[in-house]
């Protein structure tokens, strides 16, 4: 055990010497041409075959996927009719509305009623207030378009995740195949598979919806597996003894018992679906995402922030309502009497819907929030930006230059100067140290894949940008997490900020960042840090909070100060959780790369983006898979380290 630190120190010295002093001969710095496999060509050819000629019997794959898309289109259209379009006659500008969509009054009242039903009137009022925000800030129409696709995408993602999870539970071989596929679904950037999705599922909102589902579903599958496995074996035995058929056992016992855990997955699906709003809008979803993009294209920062916050508002409403509905105590059965009495809220919502629809013909303000009543903060944001820009640019520029010269550029030069066999060896060695030969084989193989793609340089730049960003995110996130865990108020405030950061599309802050720091790696780094900060804070706080009370009491009894308790008890105990946080931070940082490509980085993200704009499926997927390879290496190494840490703690306890 004691030898590893020495080995790592030795390797570090070798690396420094290699990077600084030795001129590495050709073919050793970056993998030689001869090693490159024409992966992009193979994948493009495979994709072309899949989309053009692959067939199952007489039905081509494309017909099949198109049919599936049409199946989804029906409920989606219905949701749009209800929320966005109403029933109209004619199309486009000649369309006349026969029955209007739900009015803002009706939807807001429904949100309040649902909140009240799910928990209490406070939740109802919060939900209502957030809906009102959408109306007041003129985001209503776009928000309803987004909502229409979310209300279809989330159930699809949840149902799909449940289905796959259940299948994997019953059928081990399937689980073994599914697990790496999920890894890829989570780590390959969406941009990389956008074009095949478009070709297979048609252009338009449905393809966007499906891309959203692909992106948002994996956590649901994993949570389903864990949650169902976590059902106590006694309960499963009971279900069998009660004479449940397999179907009854799943529906009536396993799923309801696992529900609280499953809701964690539902929450993830909601959050990730809303994360996809921007990208989905690029391929036809419209709605708030399109508003964000359009605003930013016009440098309307305020407009971007307002639309971005509207996405956050939707996320908060959906998430809180979902959580409350799942944990709702069964008090609902109390009411007696006829249907009208038992369902006062449903009656109220129906009444408001009808009345507001009718009143809408006389007073349009009831149907659509009038334009004159909308508020905008556009001017404020523009002035604020200008003020900062004009008064503080020099200081900010100095900060930027200092960081570039002292941190970013040295790290980049160092990584780019390392010979590839050395990097590969280090990765495999780390795998061996942390998880034995199996892990070493996996990390080594993935490293070799990176070498064979011909994207080594981009991969190293990715490593550098992500590495530095993750480092900074941890440096900021861990103290914030400690602070959040230190008290109720701090926890609440930081929690709210974190939630916002997670759901606010990064595009919203990307443009102001560019205005202050210009295009380039520094701006990219700021965007990555802001986004990847979230798990660093959250997991640290969670880890610290869940240290057993007994241990802390033991510390207090032995006369430890607050600082000592934190350093000697809480932090060490929270290490496994914090490592998980680090893991998530890395994954999020990697997932931001494609977005930071938009401010001019030159990493794998840019490669994916270039491939997208050239509709080059193979190139995009190879770059995407390279990102996934890095993500999986990091994930497995840290996972092994966390496991080791946990075992040490438990063994010691």
């Amino acid at each position: 055990m004691k030898t590893w630190p020495l080995i790592w120190a030795g390797l570090a010295v070798v690396a420094l010497v290699l990077a600084r002093a030795v001129a590495v001969p050709d073919g050793w710095l970056w993998p030689p041409q001869a090693m490159h496999l024409p992966l992009a060509r193979w994948i493009s050819a495979g994709m072309a075959w899949l989309t053009d000629s692959a067939a199952i019997g007489p039905v081509t794959v494309k017909d099949l996927t198109r049919g599936f898309a049409r199946l989804i289109e029906a409920p989606y259209e219905a949701a749009r009719v209800l929320l966005v379009e109403g029933i109209t006659e004619g199309r486009g500008r000649r369309a006349t509305t026969i029955v209007p969509p739900l009015s803002w009054v009706a939807v807001t009242v429904a949100a309040v009623a649902l909140g009240h039903y799910a928990r209490d009137i406070w939740l109802g009022l919060i939900a209502g207030a957030l809906m009102l925000y959408l109306a007041v800030f003129g985001q209503w129409d776009s928000a309803m378009i987004t909502l229409a696709s979310i209300v279809i995408a989330v159930p699809l993602g949840v149902a799909g995740g449940l289905g796959l999870g259940i299948a994997a539970l019953h059928w081990r071989p399937f689980e073994r195949v599914l697990s790496p596929v999920l890894d890829l679904m989570q780590t390959v950037p969406t941009f990389a598979y956008l074009v095949p999705v478009l070709v297979l599922f048609g252009f338009g909102p449905v393809a966007a919806l499906l891309a959203t589902v692909i992106y948002a579903m994996p956590p649901m599958v994993r949570v389903t597996l864990v949650a169902l496995r976590g059902v106590p074996p006694e309960i499963v035995d009971f279900a069998n003894m009660a004479g449940c058929t397999p179907g009854q056992r799943m529906r009536k016992v396993m799923l309801p018992v696992a529900l609280p855990d499953l809701m964690v997955g539902v929450n993830q699906v909601i959050m990730l679906s809303l994360n996809m709003v921007i990208i989905a809008s690029m391929i036809g979803a419209g709605g708030l995402g399109a508003d964000v993009l359009e605003s930013l294209r016009r440098l309307n920062i305020g407009g971007g922030i307002e639309a971005g916050l509207a996405i956050t508002a939707l996320a908060v409403v959906l998430d809180r309502l979902g959580q409350a509905l799942a944990t709702r105590a069964g008090g609902g059965r109390g009411a007696k009497g006829n249907w009208l009495r038992r369902h006062p809220r449903t009656v109220l919502v129906l009444a408001v819907t009808l009345i507001s629809a009718a009143a809408g013909y006389l007073i349009p303000a009831v149907q659509d929030w009038p334009k004159e009543w909308t508020v905008t903060t556009k001017g404020f944001w523009a002035d604020l930006m200008q003020w900062i820009n004009v008064n503080y640019y020099d200081q900010l520029e100095a900060l930027r230059n200092w960081t570039l010269v002292n941190l970013l550029i040295p790290v980049k030069d160092f990584l780019l100067a390392l010979p590839w066999p050395f990097v590969l060896g280090t990765v495999a060695l780390a795998g061996w140290a942390l998880g034995g030969w199996r892990l070493a084989a996996l990390t080594g193989a993935l490293g070799l894949f990176l070498a064979a793609t011909g994207l080594w340089e981009q991969a190293m730049i990715t490593l550098y940008l992500c590495g530095v960003s993750v480092l900074i995110a941890m440096c900021i996130g861990v103290p914030l997490g400690i602070w959040a865990a230190s008290g109720e108020t701090a926890g609440k405030v930081i929690g709210a900020v974190i939630d916002t950061l997670q759901t606010l599309p990064s595009f919203v802050y990307l443009i102001p960042v560019v205005m202050l720091f210009r295009v380039g790696d520094f701006s990219a780094m700021i965007a990555v840090v802001l986004y990847a900060l979230v798990p660093a804070v959250r997991y640290t706080a969670h880890g610290l909070r869940s240290v057993p009370e007994e241990l802390i009491e033991a510390g207090i009894v032995s006369g430890a100060t607050r600082g000592q308790i934190l350093r000697k008890i809480r932090l060490p105990m929270a290490v496994p959780m914090m490592l998980l946080g680090l893991n998530q931070t890395i994954l999020l940082a990697l997932s931001m790369l494609v977005i930071t490509a938009l401010v001019g980085t030159r990493d794998l993200g840019q490669e994916v983006y270039i491939a997208l704009t050239k509709a080059d499926v193979g190139r995009g997927l190879v770059a995407g898979l390279s990102v996934a390879a890095i993500a999986i290496i990091a994930d497995r190494l840290i996972g092994a380290a966390a496991k080791g840490a946990r075992e040490r703690l438990e063994g010691g306890a």
């Binding site: 069998n240 003894m241 004479g243 449940c244």
Partner: protein, 336 residues
Amino acid sequence: MTRPVKLACRHVWKLYGPHPERLVGKSPSLDEIRASGHVGAVRDVSLNIGEGEIFVIMGLSGSGKSTLVRCLSRLIEPTAGEILYDGEDLLKASPARMIEIRRHHMGMVFQHFALLPHLTVLENVAFPLEVQGMARPAREARAREVIALVGLQGREGHYPRQLSGGQQQRVGIARSLAVEPDLWFLDEPFSALDPLIRREMQEEFLRIQKQLKKTIVFITHDFDEAIRLADHIAIMKDGAVVQVASPEELVLAPADDYVRAFTAHVSRAKVITLGRIAVPGVPADVAGTLPAEARVEAVAEQVVTAGRPFAVEREGAVIGHVTPQAVIDVLIGRGG
């Protein structure tokens, strides 16, 4: 007093490990099983469980009790053997037939209650009936009956988390009785409860059994509990049954040191019946008549206070008498 056999098992094996089915044909010894990297959770167990009796399975933790009882109800597929329920081999029953048998003939109570957290007491108890497709009014009426039987009236609308451990297990008992099973499995039903509550529940259990007369397979690792309840006890060790006997025989004639260790600290008065210490003949001055099945502990006070012998009868016929001295001898552990 032999009862008709309700449930029997013949040479039941359950091995865990890489190739259990290959190993089992050879009737391997414990060492062979271990050497080949397997776990012998149940080894060659044969039992006869009579109708209407309380059959207790005892053993240390890990001795295979739960595994055996799950083999008997076929929750676990045994590696080899036969399970005969009313003469029908359960291991050959189709899945549909198994569901049918469990729906109407078996009930089970679990150590950790296994209540469904999302259902109320009433819904939990009615659940096995719901699964059968019984209409709501009928199943709720039946559920209310069993809830009354276990003394939980008024709690029908509560959720499990709102109940104490003892109350939760009453719900578990009520639920297992809702379908009127004739085979009742209880896997350490009272182990998770406090000693006082445990005692109370045991009495409750005996009361219910007196009323219902089910065939019961009861698991415990608490020998006191076993002798309080059992008609027969099977002692398990490392997956095998070491001895099957009445509590009294176990104490008086333990098959080996393992069983002896179990019974060593048991007060003999708790297990020895009057039938065993009765001597032939009936003196003239008997103070009364006592049943031969009565345990010494239960009648000691009566006999000693009376200061005179009691006649002992079995199934209506007088078989002899007991003297206060004989009772005192048992109480203080002298002779036997």
